[in-house]
């Protein structure tokens, strides 16, 4: 690990002002906020990340889960994943979020990892994590050996000729389906970012993963009021029964009235270069009978743009079955 200066900003304004001196808030940032450390410290050991300054935000007042007057939920940036997953309101009204978080990592990691840290979780692509290898995400312009190399775990949606790295988060998939809003404090004040606008597709610039600029500090995430009567399911398929990243996962929020789907929010994990909201699946489902044929149609729609690499073609059918099964499970609930 490279040496760094360790600071503990007194407040958010001071943290923002200091971080604003960074050249970038993206890959290779020279100033980084440190919360749980479960991603950043790992990548610093690998020297994938080599910040010169760390700003410890663990003592800033962002560690609360609060109910909002509109019935929604405010989740602080440093709320630990365990605390969020076991929060009574989350378990009752946002069950898909609780299920998603509890399907990821291990108890030890969930006890340390935070809300904002999970939003910024980095890919597990082995080429990104190995500084001996080229990687457009880590070192722009060096190439993507994953495309011709080992890519079984990598993405089939949202890829480009420059990067096929999978976003590994489970929490983000649920938040995409719940239409969360990310709240950022920056040099020009506070702003809100819709969940779907927060992560970027790799396109020509895979080293840019989010809309964050130098100084931007995620302070909290809000969830809209829960959908009355919604049935929520997170289904994660993986090589092991526990403690493994998804090959494919699906987050589903479904309302059914009579025989028909009246509301559907769908997101996929383990298959996209970002947490993958599928408006196509939602459109296919809404207003149609909640049955197996329509669930399969929705899955076909969600994966229509999927592109297989040499080793991960199986993910296309796997993701379809994952989503169809999650929808059926929700409908049966």
């Amino acid at each position: 690990m490279r040496t760094f200066e360790f600071n503990r900003p007194e407040n958010a304004a001071s943290a923002v002002a200091t971080a604003a001196q960074a050249k970038t808030a993206q890959q290779g940032a020279d100033i980084r906020f440190l919360a749980g450390g479960t991603t950043l410290v790992d990548l610093m050991k690998l020297e994938v990340e080599t910040p010169k300054r760390l700003l410890d935000i663990n003592r800033l007042p962002f560690d609360k889960v609060e109910e909002l007057s509109n019935g929604g939920l405010k989740i602080g940036a440093t709320v630990r994943n365990s605390n969020l997953a076991y929060h009574p309101k989350v378990q009752k009204d946002y069950a898909v979020l609780s299920q998603a978080i509890l399907s990821g990592a291990s108890v030890q990691l969930r006890n340390a990892a935070t809300t904002a840290g999970n939003l910024l979780q980095r890919t597990r692509c082995m080429y990104f994590r190995d500084t001996a290898m080229p990687c457009n995400k880590r070192e722009p312009g060096t190439g993507c050996p994953a495309i011709t190399g080992s890519n079984r775990m990598l993405a089939i949606l949202g890829t480009s000729e420059h990067c096929i790295a999978t976003n590994p988060s489970d929490m983000c998939v649920a938040m995409a389906a719940l239409e969360a809003t990310i709240h950022v404090q920056g040099t020009k004040g506070a702003r809100e970012v819709a969940f779907g606008d927060f992560h970027l597709l790799p396109a020509q610039t895979p080293h840019r993963e989010t809309v964050l600029e130098p100084g931007d500090l995620i302070t909290h995430v809000t969830l809209p009021p829960p959908r009355a009567g919604s049935r929520q399911v997170y289904l994660k398929l993986r090589d092991r029964a526990s403690y493994e990243f998804a090959l494919a996962s699906a987050a589903v929020v479904l309302n059914v009235a009579g025989a028909n789907v009246t509301y559907a929010r769908v997101a996929l994990g383990g298959v996209g270069t970002k947490p993958w909201r599928s408006h196509e699946a939602e459109t296919t489902l809404t207003g149609k009978p909640a049955n197996a044929a329509n669930f399969r149609r929705a899955a076909e729609a969600a994966l229509r743009g999927a592109e297989a690499q040499s080793e991960n073609g199986f993910k296309i059918e796997l993701a379809k079955r994952c989503l169809a099964h999650a929808l059926q499970t929700a409908a049966n609930a």
Binding site: T3, L34, G37, S106, V107, L109, R240
Partner: protein, 216 residues
């Protein structure tokens, strides 16, 4: 004793036994390799001599910063390199060697300790984040004469083979007792999935944990 090498640590690492151990052997041989890590053992020797832990006499570390770390009920006044992980601080600076370094990347669970009664992997956390926290390691759970019920259960159920992952397994298992966990073995396996045992002692580990859950 099931363990006669202090590296095994589970029940024995604070015994301060008079006999030769691997650690003392390495220190005393004076080889170049051993000399390069001598600094790490000074506090251990101080502790064995019954002194309070201090790094006042330790060699200067460039860029070191002060830290008071509370481990197993004792405050340790330290000066550490900011890069020091909680794991390395516990093992190398304070010299509680019961906590093990496995993968050093948060994937194996061997380094599991409790921070304010919650289990975390100590390899992925900087020691500087833990001033004011109550750290508990395997040495803080029990003693050879008065083991924690979970330590006793691991012995009774043979919940290990080589023993390297055992302290992490036990720290996770003790924390699990206070976590939301269903009654059946499957629930235990799910919550213990962050602790890898390459010997494959999983069946006996689950049995040990279930024994404690049903008898306390």
């Amino acid at each position: 004793m099931p363990y006669d090498d202090e590296e095994s640590g589970t029940l024995h690492s604070l015994s301060g036994s008079a006999g030769p151990t691997r650690r003392k052997f390495l220190v005393n041989t004076g080889t170049a390799a051993a000399a390069s890590v001598m600094g790490a053992f000074i506090p251990a020797q101080a502790r064995e001599a019954g002194q309070s832990s201090s790094t006042a006499d330790a060699p200067a570390i460039e860029g070191a910063v002060p830290l008071v770390l509370r481990v197993n009920g004792t405050d340790h006044q330290l000066r550490i390199d900011p890069r020091t992980t909680l794991l390395d601080c516990i093992r190398e600076t304070i010299a509680f060697t019961g906590t093990k370094k496995g993968c050093d990347h948060g994937q194996c669970g061997a380094c599991t300790v409790h921070v304010n009664d919650r289990r975390v992997v100590s390899c992925l956390s900087l020691a500087l984040l833990h001033e004011g926290h109550e750290i508990t390691t395997i040495e803080g759970l029990g003693t050879p004469d008065a083991p924690h019920p979970m330590q006793a259960a691991f012995l009774a159920h043979d919940g290990y083979q080589c023993g390297y992952c055992t302290s992490g397994q036990i720290m996770s298992a003790v924390a699990l007792l206070e976590e939301p966990c269903g009654p059946d073995d499957a629930a235990v396996k799910e919550l213990m999935s962050g602790n890898i045992c390459r010997c494959g002692a999983y069946g006996n580990i689950v049995a040990a944990i279930q024994h404690v859950r049903k008898n306390t």
